[in-house]
Amino acid sequence: MTSHLVLAASAGDALTWVVWFAAALACVASGVAVVSFSNPFYSALALIGNLASLAVLYLLLSAEFVAAAQVLVYAGAVMVMFLFVIAYLGGRADAPWAGGPSLNRVAAVAAGGAILVEVLVAVGLDAGGGLSHPAHVGASFGSPADIGRLFLTDHLLAFEITSVVLLVAAVGGVVLGSHARRLQAEAEEAVPARQPVPARDEPPVEVPAAR
């Protein structure tokens, strides 16, 4: 009887390892793909795959609500906006590895490798310590009710500030968009004005001041 329970527990453990390994591999591979595709459209698609496999890792960490929010907000809303802008602007980006190693590239790879080694050493030094003995959590850990209670009690200020940040970003997006439209109109008006210069004696044309 006990051996059956142990066997079932270890089978569950092995299955978790398999799922973790697949999700982690997908995460790292799609992350590398984001950086190395030369077409931004493919990069954005790879980032969607990255976000989806991250949601699997969140589920393994029993953060159900964050996993759902990740798929809805990130892989849904934010990435659709990204894909829309990429389709609007079109074109390809720089090929990351074309043209051989330059000083910039060598320095970039060195800096990325230094960050990786630093974090891995810091994590590895603590591997046998407190991090390897995770706390026991109840069934409600990470559930929407738990997150909502934390947001409305202990972290109310963060909740309110988040709403202000989102509002400011929305206003900023609208201002940038309208400003860009005016700049485009000015750029199109400026093209014919380059040809004959008007005589000096004429009274200057009243230009409405930009507000």
Binding site: T16, V35, L47, A69, Y74, F82, I115, G177, A180
Partner: protein, 102 residues
Amino acid sequence: MRGPDVVWYLGVAAVMFSTGALGVLLRRSPLIVLLSLELMLNAANLALIAFSRGHGGGAGQIFALSVMAVAASEVVVGLGLIVAMARRKLALDVDKLTSLRG
């Protein structure tokens, strides 16, 4: 906790973060720089949620949700800037935007 320790998740987060940092430093298209920034933010989110699970408190998940909101705002402003650049017919190349360089 079944399966891998928190440390393994932190390793994945470290690899993802350095990949994103490499992309920010290496690529010249502002769109891909923004995508690499998202990669870095998500690596930080993964570390936060792993720590939250390790300590058994919900504060890390609250922090991760706030980071998501900040990332969404960052995308709105960043994409607005890129569209404004494209409408002014500026080259979409971060190495050529040097007017603020002293």
